[in-house]
Symmetry: C2
Subunit: 261 residues, 2 copies
DNA sequence: CCGTAATACACGTATGTACGAGTTGAGGAG
DNA sequence: CTCCTCAACTCGTACATACGTGTATTACGG
């Protein structure tokens, strides 16, 4: 094992021992002494080095894991998280010119960046919308919606789950209610149906994933998600779609261009 | 103490005991049985209820804390996190019409939402930019920048830290290099100096806060941050400012409007 | 030479104990 | 009645121990 030069504890410090240890390892990571993917000394080694109990070491390691700096692999060790190549989700990804090329936004964007896109777990149902979706779509209580849920993967790695809601009055019986929505995706279909799209509004939250999201996106502990809700408006000001997506925050950087006017 | 009806453990389950306990409490929170701000049963009570060791209870509580669902208060108990009123950070906040009203974006926006804005810890220095800032500003190696760092608070609660970088060639000796940048903020000053702003590009990451950020924003464990880097471009395509901000994710929802064209 | 079984090592889960430190409320002193 | 002290309760930190489960290496037998 390559010797990692860790400082000794400062017994005069007020700072808890396990925090001091976490600080030492964090510093080593931030300064590159411990490189990405490299193995952090084992619990036993750290116990020996610092002369403390295992619980203290585990507390320290848990701090780092909660910060998303390390991942523990059962039976193998604790490793410095390697940050996967981050993709940029650009604000013009729904521009009509892309749609007219016949590809859905995700496919076009991923292939353009040299990745192999795939879509997974497509489920389509018709149901009553939640209160918040109904409000965004401007629907009355009992108007049903078509619900399209699916999962996006890049090179087999899940990166995003998405659920679209379209008023059933618009989508029922059209290709929007089929698993394969055809070239250009559902936005192309909506325009063909005479709903000329004018703009989108995206609302972005950041939070820790729920249990299900952690599973669906194969997220390591300490990795938050973007929760993005996009509403599509037509030129006559009507909302025709709401898309609720959860995006792994280490797969993407979001990018927006804003006019200064 | 109001009795919280928690299920018993399932001894046949593969799921670790502390995870089962975390699941029970999480369910109670999600179903509203445990309301926001309410006290989770104490460690001693949970030990008694489940008949397990304290470490097992603490592991369970730590899971929930890592998910941002609860906060522990030393000497008082563990409480269901209450989500503060979330504010919307709109994409038109830097529109010229706002600037011309003579208020900086943050002040105008916060007062509009009925909060008391304040700004804190203003520090201005001149220094050599980091490689990434230099690249965004299109500067050569040794061209210095003016660095304006500050912290924004709403009703005394810190919500955002921001650091702006402006080429020293532009800002040196102007009001941009003073603590009070005057009405309309530095964007107003830049336009007065003949740098007519055309558009901004914002890049958004989501991640767990670093130690310093956690302190500066008074963040509870389990709360991620937005890391937003905005670059301001003039009509002749030159970058004149880079603003690097870290925003508490439970203070804000970001909102953007995108054209469909 | 190869496959398999034993082994060492890694983290995961759980028990029990002890003491420290912040908060709160009850009860006694003034 | 008020103030203060103290006890009780809370979470925070740290120790010691034991066993489970997954991984990788080594040694041995075929």
């Amino acid at each position: 094992m390559a010797e990692l030069p860790l400082p000794d504890l400062d017994p005069t410090s007020d700072r808890a021992v396990f925090r001091q240890i976490a600080d030492h390892i964090r510093d080593a990571i931030e300064q590159g002494t411990l490189a990405e993917g490299e193995k952090v000394p084992s619990e036993a080694q750290l116990m020996q080095h610092y002369g403390v109990a295992r619980m203290t070491i585990r507390n320290a390691l848990q701090v780092l894991q909660g910060e998303g700096l390390t991942v523990a692999e059962h039976g193998r060790g604790v490793f410095v998280r390697s940050h996967p190549p981050v993709r940029r989700l650009a604000s013009d990804r729904f521009a009509r010119r892309h749609r007219e090329e016949g590809k859905a936004a995700f496919i076009a964007e991923t292939e353009g960046a040299g990745g192999k896109p795939s879509v997974d777990a497509i489920k389509i149902t018709e149901e009553a919308p939640s209160a918040s979706v109904a409000a965004l779509l401007g629907l009355t209580d009992d108007a049903p919606v078509i619900r399209r849920s699916r999962r996006y993967l890049i090179n087999g790695q899940p990166v995003e789950t998405a659920v679209s809601y379209i008023p059933a009055e618009i989508a029922r019986g059209t290709r929007i209610a089929e698993p394969d929505s055809g070239p250009g995706g559902i936005y192309a279909r909506l325009e063909e149906l005479g709903h000329r799209l004018d703009h989108f509004v995206e609302e972005i939250k950041s939070r820790m994933p729920l249990r299900d999201e952690m599973r669906a996106l194969k997220l390591a502990p300490g990795i938050p998600v973007f929760h993005l809700v996009r509403t599509a408006y037509t030129t006559d000001g009507k909302a025709v779609e709401v898309c609720d997506t959860v995006i792994s925050s280490d797969a993407y950087v979001l990018s927006y261009e804003l006019p200064a006017r």
